[in-house]
Symmetry: C2
Subunit: 216 residues, 2 copies
């Protein structure tokens, strides 16, 4: 059972605290405004009202006892930076901060954040990949050089199997599943033959992916 | 070349417009506040200042000519709903709206949105999966029943190959890559032998994933 501190009940913080509790962690939430925590009281383990830039207030939470501390404040960047830095000074094991702009990320990482999350940037990248010119239905970047994407099965592949085409050796990608009418069916057999109107869920690095996207 | 309309230059809208332009689409941006579009002028194809709840203003954009129209407004839900509905009435081909709360999604889908995006909710789910009790380093849901996750190689697997373990037939998951010191190496050979301290990138449905996470 993990114990997790979540500071700031904006959209991201609220969803995070709710999901962490759902997955079985003990969650403590803090916000400086009372009305932001009222409706979460019955869901989370503990809740506290207070301004976390106040050292005494933060010290009273016992930050060293939490497995992970989240700072989910966007609009007031100075508060986010101060709280991140104070948490680290007080012995927080692992600090994750939310950032709104790339420049915030640099300062947060230099002042105590072990990791930074960009909700809007990540969602925008996924949407931009999905709606750009290429024949892509969904696209998720796992690292800067490895992605998962959903594409229509190339016409030249219909009626042939993974093995016959030599997908792995020729294109250096991994077909992980087929999508047909919103249902995803994991592919575990290289004898699988592609059919018309199927989408492929493919995994591979950037170079392999762009070659894959240009097959007719 | 796709042509895309993006209304609302908040954090999500700005990232979206920038990325869509980067991936080769023609992008038009609109915001009611001039200072929100100034710095994007040199990047996007066209920019316009105006209140999109005004029918005449929206009609002047020629919304029927865009492949996709995005409504990226969160704080003013009424404006988001009005604009989404007006776009559809004026013949927009495909409308994607950003939502802040689940209740917004319902109204947006009923009033013209073809799709709804929740940036904060999706980012929070990914973070909550990553930091919950289970031995998971990253976790992305592609659909409600298919996910990609990164876990430590189970001790009982170290020194054995995918084929020897019978990963696919026994666990109904697909090992798509190995992660070692931040580098992801696609796995395309079932003779691959797992080593200590490697992470696995695995794809599978919810049932198969939770079985996989409980192996020692
Ligand atoms: N010093 C502070 N101490 C405790 N809580 C704070 C502090 N400063 C801000 N907060 C709280 O953090 C929450 C989130 O702040 P903010 O509105 O900046 O988020 P946001 O980036 O817009 O979030 P989201 O995009 O997730 O909605 C608010 O509920 C606010 O009351
Ligand atoms: N009626 C409207 N017509 C055109 N632009 C609008 C209208 N209403 C709001 N906007 C613009 O939409 C942008 C985004 O609005 P808002 O602040 O609600 O976003 P947000 O949900 O906080 O975004 P994010 O989380 O992406 O930062 C603002 O720049 C605002 O000026």
């Amino acid at each position: 059972m993990k114990t997790i501190l979540v500071i700031g009940m904006g959209r991201f913080g609220r969803h995070l605290a709710t999901r962490l509790t759902e997955f079985g962690s003990e969650v403590m939430i803090v916000d400086k405004e009372e009305d932001k925590i009222q409706d979460l009281l019955p869901i989370v383990t503990r809740a506290q009202i207070g301004d976390c830039t106040d050292e005494k207030m933060l010290a009273s939470l016992g930050v060293g006892n939490f497995d992970t501390c989240f700072v989910c404040i966007g609009d007031d960047f100075q508060a986010s930076l101060e709280i991140t830095s104070l948490l680290k000074d007080m012995g927080a094991k692992y600090v994750v901060a939310k950032a709104d702009r790339a420049i915030h990320e640099k300062f947060l990482l230099r002042n105590g954040a072990d990791e930074v999350i960009h909700p809007e940037r990540d969602a925008a990248l996924r949407a931009a990949n999905k709606y750009s010119a290429r024949n892509v239905f969904d696209y998720i970047q796992l690292t800067s050089d490895f992605s998962i994407f959903e594409i229509a099965a190339p016409e030249s592949w219909v009626g042939r199997s993974i093995k016959q085409i030599g997908v792995r050796s020729k294109y250096n990608v991994n077909i992980i599943a087929i999508k047909k009418n919103e249902e995803i069916i994991p592919i575990t057999n290289v004898e699988y033959v592609f059919k018309k109107d199927e989408h492929l869920i493919v995994a591979g690095n950037a170079k392999a992916s762009s070659r894959m996207l240009s097959i007719k």
